[in-house]
């Protein structure tokens, strides 16, 4: 039976359970007594018991079933001709499965055609088992709930508990995904570090993944130039742009702007945050980078690169402005207005009040915001892919070409990648490093912000 039909049947059963249980509970009456659960709660109780167990069963079944099907096929006589475990065997089996399911119309391997009927039969058999089991579970669950539904039974709290369980499961999925991502990063990075020693990767100053000496891959996979480039573009140049402009616009918006001005200015500033980073990338590569190079040439730096750190950093800084601004806005707004009044009442002007009272009081929040902004800038990819260079140079000159960790990850993983060479595995090591750094930045920033919030609440 197709999965959708089964699903419809289950939903239908559950609906029937809901209607009948509710109708039955409506007649629960004991003189002089009031029950905590309304008929609707009994309906939900039965409906959930009808549909949740089969769904859980089907979810588990769908992960186990393919292995069972394959086992059944392997036990047929035709399977004896299969080559030993390896690429060919897997290819034949997968072809046979596609043929058996009717999703493919021909096969390269004759053996696949031979195995296809066995696949179809096994698949069919297990599908029926699954359908029968699911329906059985639906009836069993519904019957269980039905027999427990008596006057005075706390169906309401049971339903509440199931709802809580569902919400918990939803949040666990996000957490588990994160854990999965971290594990896969760690796993792939671990394979990389089997080939290249950690210290050569972290402290080596030569990065040229295009030419890797197979006898000593670590010699050309030293990531220091990348770390420096990332830091230089994301944490230095971008912040030189973002901090003053973000902070000053926040000060203007919170302390000086009339409500009417604020009402149209703030959304416009927030539009900056909504611009896709690809568009910033175009802007950096096509407008800012040539301008920066021309400026450098005019200043007498004839070798200035058109993929300079300055161009990428400037545009990244502009991108981060609304971020810094809204963090600073929040922390300025969190300073009690009594501080401001106290200072103004002493005869201080607005700018004195901001400089001497508001900013010092908001400083931890602002610092936290800046750290979060750095962690965003460091992880930013699109702008540097389009505007920064692919060549790793260890330089302090903003007009020279510089590359970043994210740019290199993209370079390493695009094109003809074999997924077990040190070159591609290096991307995972870079990703892991970046992840750890931004994680630490976020933790520090959030702790700082939280501490500071507590001080005033």
């Amino acid at each position: 039976m197709p999965a959708t039909a089964l699903l419809f049947i289950l939903v239908g059963l559950s609906l029937i359970g809901w209607l009948t249980a509710r109708a039955r509970a409506a007649r629960f009456k004991v003189a002089g007594q009031r029950f905590s659960s309304l008929p609707g709660h009994f309906g939900w109780y039965v409906a959930l018991w009808t549909i949740v167990p089969p769904l859980i069963f089907l979810a588990i079944w769908s992960t186990v079933a393919p292995a069972l099907v394959t086992d059944a096929v392997l036990s047929t006589p035709a399977a004896a001709q299969l080559p030993p475990p390896g690429f060919d065997r897997a290819a034949i089996l997968s072809e046979a499965r596609e043929l058996g399911a009717g999703r493919a119309y021909g096969a390269f391997h004759g053996l696949a055609r031979l195995l296809a009927p066995a696949y179809a039969a096994a698949q069919d058999r297990y599908d029926w088992i699954a359908t029968a089991a699911a329906l059985l579970l639906a009836f069993a669950g519904g019957a269980f709930a039905w027999t427990r539904s008596k006057p005075g039974f706390a169906a309401r709290t049971r339903v509440e508990r199931i709802v809580m369980g569902a919400l918990l499961a939803a949040s666990l999925i996000a957490i588990l995904t994160t854990i999965g991502i971290v594990l896969s990063l760690v796993w792939e990075a671990g394979r990389f570090f089997q080939v290249v020693p950690v210290h050569e990767f972290l402290f080596g100053t030569h990065w040229s993944p295009q030419v890797i000496d197979a006898r000593d891959p670590g010699a050309s996979l030293g990531a220091v130039p990348l770390f420096w480039g990332t830091f230089f573009i994301g944490a230095v140049i971008a912040m030189i742009v973002a901090i003053p402009f973000g902070l000053m616009s926040a000060i203007y918006l919170t302390q000086y702007a009339a409500p009417r001005t604020r009402r149209w200015m703030k959304p416009i500033l927030e539009v900056l945050a909504g611009v896709p980073t690809v568009v910033y990338g175009y802007f950096a590569a096509l407008t800012v980078a040539p301008a920066v190079r021309d400026l450098a040439v005019a200043m007498g730096i004839s070798w200035a690169s058109s993929e300079s750190a300055l161009a990428a950093g400037l545009v990244m800084g502009v991108m981060i402005i609304p971020f810094v601004s809204s963090m600073a806005d929040d922390s300025l707004a969190a300073v009690p207005s009594s501080m401001r009044d106290g200072s103004l009442a002493m005869g201080a002007t607005s700018s004195e009040t901001i400089r001497k009272v508001m900013l010092p009081a908001a400083l931890p929040g602002v610092v936290g915001g800046v750290l979060l902004a750095i962690s965003r800038a460091v992880g930013e990819t699109m702008i540097v892919v389009m505007a920064a260079s692919g060549v790793a140079t260890l330089t302090l000159n903003p007009f020279a070409s510089t590359t970043t960790v994210t740019r290199q990850i993209v370079d390493l993983l695009t094109g003809e990648a074999e997924f077990d060479s040190p070159k591609t595995l290096a991307a995972f090591a870079l990703g892991l490093t970046l992840f750890v750094v931004t994680l630490l930045l976020n933790i520090v920033a959030l702790t700082v912000v939280k501490k500071y919030r507590e001080a005033y609440e």
């Binding site: 009339a258 009690p336 009044d341 103004l344 002493m346």
Partner: protein
């Protein structure tokens, strides 16, 4: 009272917040050597009126002040009046103690620094010590001037705010329910302090506590629903009010 002209005079003051009228046609004068108490139920406009006296309502965008308020005969809302100068002359203490998150010393030195009152470090030390002494806090904090002002107890914080206000040598001090966030012992200390400050500064104090008004003030103004109902000697207001509404309020009929 004395025969010298009043320190501050407010005549026919009306304040709007947007379209809402907060106070209506209030006239009060404050003499050089007296404490004037403003009493009345919540929302009666007494704090709003107090804040017009040093133009703190300027910080509220929607507030509009009409009428005539003079300090030593000069209109404080005149275009040539520098609000920075005005607030240095008319200091303010708020309902909730609001020391800056700085050291005790820096809290007191804040105003003198802004107004350039000290020529040297020793000048500043003198101002800080004198202000803290007048606020009755010197003995308690003289060994820990570098501690944060926010680490003090509530009552100490409020006296620190008073010290901060008098550090710029004002002529008038406005107090907006200065004891409402304090316990009775701290309150008693502040009241004692108000007695000591009287004569040196003209003082206007908003209070919810009628006993407090009776204890600290020479004249009392009773506000109700944005109007000034009665203004006179404190002893008269509390023993022999002329208005029925005043009598109802001070006997606890409403408010």
């Amino acid at each position: 009272m004395s025969n010298t002209p009043p320190k501050m005079t407010a005549s026919h003051v009306t304040v709007h917040y947007g379209t809402k009228r907060a106070i209506d046609d209030v006239s009060i004068d404050i003499d050089q050597d007296e404490v004037v108490a403003f009493i009345g139920p919540s929302g009666c406009g007494k704090s709003t009126f107090l804040r017009t006296l040093n133009r703190m309502n300027d910080t509220v965008a929607s507030a509009r002040v009409e009428g005539d308020i003079r300090l030593d005969g000069h209109d404080i809302y005149a275009p040539d009046m520098d609000v920075v100068q005005l607030r240095a002359r008319v200091g303010m203490v708020f309902q909730k103690p609001n020391p800056f998150p700085k050291s005790i010393y820096e809290n007191v030195a804040y105003g003198p620094r802004i107004h350039g009152l000290a020529q040297s470090k020793s000048d500043m030390d003198g101002i800080v010590e004198r202000s803290l002494t007048r606020a009755g806090l010197w003995a308690e904090v003289k060994d820990r001037l570098s501690d944060s002002g926010t680490a003090l107890s509530g009552g100490q914080q409020q006296r620190l705010c008073i010290a901060r206000a008098i550090a710029v040598d004002p002529e008038v001090i406005l107090m907006d329910e200065p004891c409402s966030a304090l316990d009775p012992i701290a309150t008693a200390k502040i009241e004692e302090l108000i007695h000591e400050l009287r004569g040196r500064y003209a003082i206007a104090i908003v209070t919810h506590n009628m006993q407090q008004a009776a204890r600290v003030s020479q004249r009392t103004a009773f506000f109700h629903l944005g109007t000034l109902v009665e203004f006179g000697r404190t002893s008269d207001i509390f023993t022999n009010p002329r208005q029925e509404r005043t009598k109802d309020y001070i006997t606890g009929r409403y408010g």
